[in-house]
């Protein structure tokens, strides 16, 4: 993705919020997150926009709606006098108490992501997934449980799910997770007691939960814990052989994207006449739309990684 003069940014993940644009329009949360991750000067200027408040640019009305993906994430509705185009950005429609709740927006043309755009992705309830850790804990509370979770969004969601499930012990964080967690706390998301891992002995982590970015699970960093139980929170964990290949012992199917059923429910509910599918498994969702008499085309965009 190239740096441009005017950028409208849906949310703070690296594959959506690139640096070096001249002017950035985004929610205040997204702007804050960009500054925390890339520094105050990661764009020429920032303009913040509130949810639901239209902004007129060149005869087009731009309105941001919560996308339920991470804190500050937005869907963007672009309106002319007679037509409505909605760009979902990354989104999920299922409840998540670590960010603003998704809102359904009706439109004439939908651009939807399709990260989990195959019917094999039917995410179970995250409340039940998080119980897998707590159950393992009940059986063996002398182990260190390391949960792999991306630093922005997933990490805070996992912590919140643990808290909502009644886990109130201190949770330990890999250094890269701290800043964003603190930011979430400053925004009123109660994450309970958190502490950096820093230089403690491996015994100090026995019976503790540690959260780290997935990349840290495999590198030297994780060797400070003796024989830890590796957990990984991701929508991809539903595929057993993939989880197995990455040596995950407790896969937690917790996703910040819509699963297949949520994607098709959204397409049906937003009453759109036409869908462009991007970011993921375009072909399956396009096929589904066509068999359900909805116009659909794949929309290929530049490469992205999962976050």
């Amino acid at each position: 993705m190239m740096a441009v003069e005017n950028a409208i940014i849906t949310h703070g993940h690296a594959d959506h919020a690139r640096i070096g644009h001249q002017n950035v329009l985004a929610t205040q949360n997204t702007i804050d997150i960009m500054k925390i991750r890339y520094g105050d000067k990661c764009a020429g200027s920032f303009q913040s926009i509130e949810y639901h408040k239209p902004l007129k640019i060149n005869n087009l009305n731009f309105t941001f709606y919560p996308a339920g993906h991470i804190l500050g994430s937005a869907q963007i509705l672009i309106e002319t006098n007679n037509s409505r185009l909605l760009i979902t950005g990354d989104y999920k429609t299922s409840p998540d108490s670590s960010c603003q709740s998704y809102e359904l927006v009706e439109c004439d043309q939908l651009i939807t992501e399709a990260t989990f755009g195959l019917p094999v992705f039917q995410h179970p309830k995250p409340e039940n997934e998080i119980k897998k850790i707590l159950k393992a804990f009940e059986k063996n509370d002398t182990k260190t449980y390391i949960i792999g979770a991306y630093a922005l969004g997933k990490s805070q969601r996992v912590i919140k799910l643990l808290r909502d499930a009644g886990y109130d012990e201190t949770i330990y964080l890999h250094g890269s997770q701290l800043k964003i967690c603190n930011y979430y706390i400053s925004q009123g998301i109660n994450l309970g007691n958190l502490e950096p891992v820093s230089y403690k002995k491996s015994e100090d982590f026995e019976g503790k939960i540690v959260i780290a970015p997935p990349s840290a699970l495999k590198d030297k960093w994780s060797r400070r814990f003796s024989d830890p139980v590796i957990c990984y929170a991701s929508g991809w964990m539903s595929i057993k052989q993939r989880a197995k290949q990455s040596l995950v012992e407790i896969p937690l199917i917790i996703s910040d994207h819509c699963d297949w059923n949520e994607l098709i429910t959204t397409i049906k509910s937003c009453k759109t006449k036409s869908v462009w599918v991007t970011h993921g498994r375009e072909d399956a969702l396009v096929h589904w739309c066509k068999t359900n008499n909805i116009n659909a085309e794949p929309l290929y965009m530049q490469g992205r990684e999962e976050e």
């Binding site: 195959l118 019917p119 094999v120 992705f121 039917q122 179970p124 024989d227 539903s238 595929i239 057993k240 052989q241 993939r242 989880a243 197995k244 290949q245 040596l247 995950v248 012992e249 407790i250 896969p251 059923n261 498994r281 072909d283 399956a284 096929h287 589904w288 068999t291």
Partner: protein, 524 residues
């Protein structure tokens, strides 16, 4: 079914052997008969559901989801059981009574195919994704959860506080759901009485020798050597009624070798190598291959390629268990036994005399270069006959591998853990301006290398045929192998024995790889 499926899930994801074993023990302790026996038999592969195949599930899923979407999903996931378990429409069905594992198995075995469909449909609706996966794996076979029969036996031994060797020695005489075994393990009864003359006995295997370490520690006079024949390891179980030939893994292959079965007599259990040829002169392995693939060989092929056995060891004689005697004693008994029961298809694998390890090295070089041998076996004179691969008793000293530079031609998806990767590779060699296939390899590389190969295959595909992809002929694979034979299996007219990918030569241009005509010159 629920506890069984959580057991499978735990076994699949637990990387540590010890924790897998604990999970098995816990399951054994907390699950009633006969479920626990069925579960273990399913895991070890001793129990299989009849008549249900992959196509049964293809038909079942066709009625449930858009088949196009199913195909896209299957292509992405790579494993049928996984795909179906995940794509199955989630329905809110009241969770009725739990169906026990053995009740389910009985239900499936007693019903016709159309009834089986209804039963499985109902059960799938009541289950979560993991349980659906277990149902499909149970009915189609092959869990691939990284649990060997050995680990199951170890868990049983620990659970019952018994010696593993005691379990190994009766295992093949037991049948699921192993009620008498559990009674013994729980000290409610004596060790199950097994009819030893009518079963396969687990074989003793060797470790590869570590030339630097082992030869320094081992005293030559404590050991004997013999040739490592390049056939297949078998066990002959003979008594007055039965004559059976078992493969190394305990599969009965008597049917394929009537020429052996009809010509041996006596009451014994013998360990040996099955070979083909006349007058005990062994032909190369690819001749044996022609016999192995036939369930009922014709008279013609038996005449052309007769089979015989080189005997290594004797486990039982006239019902007496000899396994706790030292090897030197067993070999003495074996040669006497053969004198009393001579046969035109039984020969003794001769003991080789040697002074020291250097001397033996010389013998190895002479033998492996001249004859069709895989190398040497080195066995402790005092070794008792133990099941499996006990340390420190038997060693194999294989001949050095040979190498070829080849070109990757096709790749196919693997199984189990590898089902989402292209991990079976067909490679070829230059023949004038074309490339002709010479072999297939699916090991020899690390997980990291597998990911790189998979990535390369996906990026360089020029054609797809079902699960097979043809790739650009640009990647050089250095293949290690044990020997080379003429064969019609591959277009090159040659076949490699034990081919494995030794190195991936990302750097090497294909123009510098081996030519078929040069290979033929070098080896024939």
């Amino acid at each position: 079914m629920k506890t069984f499926s959580s057991l499978l899930e735990k076994l699949l994801f637990t990387p540590s052997r010890n924790r897998k074993k604990s999970a098995l023990k816990e399951y054994i302790a907390n699950t009633p008969d006969p479920d626990r026996g069925y579960a273990l038999a399913a895991i070890t592969g001793d129990f299989k559901v009849k008549n249900i195949t992959a196509s049964f599930y293809h038909e079942l899923i066709k009625d449930q989801v858009d088949y196009e979407l199913f195909k896209m999903s299957y292509d992405y996931v790579g494993d049928l059981a996984e795909t179906i378990s995940l794509i199955w429409p989630i329905r809110s069905v009241k969770n009725q009574e739990e169906l026990s594992l053995h009740a389910f198995i009985n239900l499936i075995n007693e019903n016709s195919k159309s009834e089986q469909k209804k039963i499985i449909f109902d059960l799938m609706n009541k289950s979560n994704a993991n349980q659906r996966w277990s149902i499909i794996k149970l009915t189609t076979g092959g869990f691939r959860i990284g649990v060997s029969a050995k680990l199951v036996k170890l868990a049983l031994a620990e659970y019952g506080n018994k010696n593993i060797e005691d379990i190994e020695r009766i295992w093949h005489g037991l049948s699921y759901p192993y009620l008498n075994l559990f009674e013994w393990l729980e000290n409610k009864s004596f060790k199950p009485k097994i009819k030893f003359s009518d079963m396969f006995h687990p074989m003793m295997l060797a470790h590869p020798i570590n030339e630097e370490k082992d030869f320094n520690n081992l005293k030559p006079r404590d050991f004997v050597a013999e040739l490592k024949w390049d056939g297949i390891r078998i066990q002959l179980v003979l008594d007055n009624k039965n004559k059976k030939v078992y493969s190394r893994t305990g599969d009965e292959i008597s049917q394929s070798f009537p020429d052996i079965v009809d010509n041996i007599y006596g009451n014994a259990v013998l360990d040996g190598e099955l070979l083909v040829g006349r007058k005990f002169e062994a032909l190369p392995f690819n001749f044996l291959q022609k016999r192995l693939n036939r369930k009922k060989p014709s008279k013609k092929i038996i005449n052309e390629i007769p089979a015989f056995v080189k005997l290594y060891d004797i486990l039982f004689e006239n019902g007496n268990d000899l396994r706790d005697l030292p090897l030197s004693k067993r070999r003495y008994i074996l040669s006497n036994w053969l004198k009393l029961n001579p046969s035109e298809c039984l020969d003794i694998s001769k003991i080789i005399d040697f002074k020291d390890w250097n001397d033996l090295k010389q013998i190895k070089i002479e033998n492996t270069e001249k004859f069709n041998q895989e190398g040497l076996m080195i066995k402790s004179k005092n070794s008792v006959y133990l099941s499996g691969r006990p340390r420190g008793h038997w060693f194999k000293w294989k001949k050095n591998p040979l190498f070829l530079d080849t070109i990757l031609m096709y790749a196919q998806r693997g199984h189990g853990k590898r089902s989402s990767y292209y991990s079976d590779f067909t490679f070829g060699v230059l023949n004038d301006n074309a490339i002709v296939p010479i072999g297939k390899a699916y090991f020899g590389f690390t997980n990291e290398e597998l990911k790189k190969l998979d990535n390369w295959v996906r990026k360089n595909t020029i054609n797809s045929f079902g699960p097979v992809r043809e790739v650009k002929k640009e990647l050089v694979l250095e293949i290690a192998f044990d020997s080379i034979n003429e064969s019609k299996r591959h277009k090159s007219g040659l076949a490699l024995r034990f081919p494995r990918i030794h190195r991936i030569r990302w750097d090497k241009p294909t123009s510098e790889t081996d030519y078929l005509k040069d290979i033929k010159k070098a080896f024939f």
